[in-house]
C-alpha cells in the first residue's frame, strides 16, 4: 500500500482513466507544463457524472450491507465471549 493510503500502485490508475475516457465517461485535455512534461487533465462528462452517482449508490448499498454483516458477527462474538466469561466466573 502506498503512503497516501491508495491500496494499489499508481500505475494501475492510468489505464482505468484511459478506459473511462474511451467509454465516454471522462474527457481529457493536455496542457503544457513549464517545469516538466505536458500534463493530461481529466474531467467527467455528463454521462460520467450520472454513472458516478449510480456507482456511489451501489457502493453505499454494498457498504451498508457489509457493515450490517460485520456488526452481526461482532455482536455474536462479543455475546459468546461474555457467556464464556460468565461461565468462567
Amino acid at each position: 500500500m502506498s503512503d497516501d493510503g491508495l491500496p494499489m500502485n499508481q500505475g494501475a490508475l492510468y489505464p482505468v482513466l484511459r478506459s473511462l475516457e474511451r467509454n465516454g465517461l471522462l474527457t481529457s485535455e493536455i496542457e503544457a507544463s513549464s517545469s516538466g512534461p505536458p500534463r493530461r487533465y481529466y474531467k467527467p462528462t455528463s454521462a460520467g457524472k450520472a454513472v458516478f452517482e449510480e456507482w456511489i449508490g451501489i457502493w453505499m448499498k454494498t457498504k451498508n450491507w457489509l457493515d450490517g454483516v460485520l456488526e452481526q458477527n461482532h455482536e455474536r462474538t462479543s455475546s459468546k465471549g461474555s457467556k464464556r466469561s460468565a461461565r468462567g466466573s
Partner: protein, 206 residues
Amino acid sequence: MNEQVAKAASVPPAVRRYMQELELQLKQIPGLCPEDALADAREFLMGDYEALQRSGEPPEVDAHYDWIVSQFGDPSQVAEQYSSQALPTPNLREGCAPGWRICCTKCGRSAPYASTGAIRIGARSIHKYVLGGCTNCKSIRWCRVIQDMEKTNLTDQMCDINLTPEQLRRSMHWSVAKMIRNILLLILGIQALVWTLLIFVFKVFG
C-alpha cells in the same frame, strides 16, 4: 491543446531506465498504443521526482528505481494492466517477423508484426509503410512497419523533448501533403541546379 513544445528538464536516469523497460514490455502487447502509456508513466514519474527533489536530497539511481517500482508498479505489471485496453488484432495465421512492429500512423495503436500473421525475415530496411485496417480507427490507414521491438526509441524521443504522444506520432510520419510538397521542392531544386549549370556553361564557353 497548447502546442508549445518545451525542452525537457533533465530526465533522471532511474526514470529513463524504468520507461525503457516499460516500453519493451508494452511493445509486446498487440493492440496497444505504447506512446500513450509511456506518456502516462512520464507524467507521474517526473512529478514524483519533482516532489522528491523538493523534499530533500534526491536518491541514488538504484534506490530511486526501487522507489519508482514501489510507487508505480513493476514495468511488466503496469504493461499487463494496460493490456486490458488492447483491441484485438486480426490474426489469420501465425507469422514470423522477429524484431518488427506495426503501428497505425493515425492513432498509434501497435502490435508485433508477427501477431498479424506477417512474415518478414532478413529485411534490411529500418521501416516501411503498408496499408492496413486499424481496429481503433475503424478505417484503412497507412501503417508503419518498424524494426524497433528490441529498441527503446520511443523513450529516447519522449525523454529528450516534451512531446505529447500525438505530437510524437506526427513528427514520425509525413502527411501526404507534406510528401507532395517535398517532392515538388526536390523537382524545383533539381531544375534550379540544372539551369544554374547551363547558365554557367554558356557564360564560360559561349
